[in-house]
């Protein structure tokens, strides 16, 4: 389960993190994003940065399950949070 998305320390983005220590399969996350039309800005085992196909917002995906939304628009963040956190929970590995 995820906490709500909160503004990051520099207030230019929102961050959502899982309650518990998590490890996410980054290759599966990347595949999921590509299938749904995200533009991949960068992919590696430590971070994936992708542009949402409709909202023009870049999102950072981390192996710890953390999500970083590069926008200050809370309404969009809430929408993306609902869209992405179930996927991240599904991609969790033991």
């Amino acid at each position: 389960m995820y906490n709500v998305a909160e503004p990051c320390s520099d207030s230019g983005a929102y961050v959502a993190e899982p309650d518990d220590k998590t490890k996410v399969a980054m290759d599966k996350v990347q595949g999921w994003l590509e299938e749904r039309g995200y533009t991949m800005k960068f992919s590696s085992e430590v971070i994936t940065v992708a542009l949402h196909p409709k909202e023009e917002v870049e999102i950072g995906f981390y192996p710890s399950g953390k999500l970083l939304f590069k926008t200050t628009d809370k309404e969009i963040v809430d929408k993306l949070f609902s869209e992405l956190t179930p996927m991240m929970e599904e991609m969790t590995v033991d």
């Binding site: 990051c8 207030s11 230019g12 983005a13 960068f42 430590v46 971070i47 940065v49 870049e58 970083l68």
Partner: protein, 210 residues
Amino acid sequence: MKMVAKVVNLLSAGIDSPVAAHLLADTGAEVTLLFLDIRPFTDDNTVDAAHELGERLKNLYPNITFYRCDFSSVEKAIAEKADRHFQCILCRRMMYKAAERLAEEIGADAISTGESLGQVASQTLSNLASEDTAVDIPVHRPLIGLDKEEVMRIARDIGTYEISTQPAVCCMLTPDGPRVASTVKEVEREEEKIRADALIERLIFEKVGG
């Protein structure tokens, strides 16, 4: 005979590095600002703020020059190949190397940064010492003994505080557990993995404004 010290100051969009540039320029040093653009690991607001800071400092000290450099190739290599616990120290060392390369190109005597002790997890004495060994050129840290309150006061005085505190995305590559102590040998091993010298060699520095 050369009388004026020429220094390349690493400029971020944060509070500290513009203050470091100001303190150096105030002594009469000829300061060249270098901003390293790490997008997509930050955002456009950060880049805009750095440019605004450059303009502000140039207004205060007309002999200041400003360069920017696309540093994303270096950050991507770090994210792809390096041990994630060393990312911060490695990133700093690579920034030093970039500043040193620009210093060689423009004939500067030293590089400088806005670092001080203990403000962030990676700014420990051992990490600062590891950073210094990345370059042959002298590294100046005008803020080393100042506390954050003092730095913020100076930033307000010179009109950079408001620019530095605009909303912006912090570095997205910061790992959950950065190394607070590292040996030179460990960090150099990571540099070999990313082929650090070749990356630095390929950087292109663009002069901003007149």
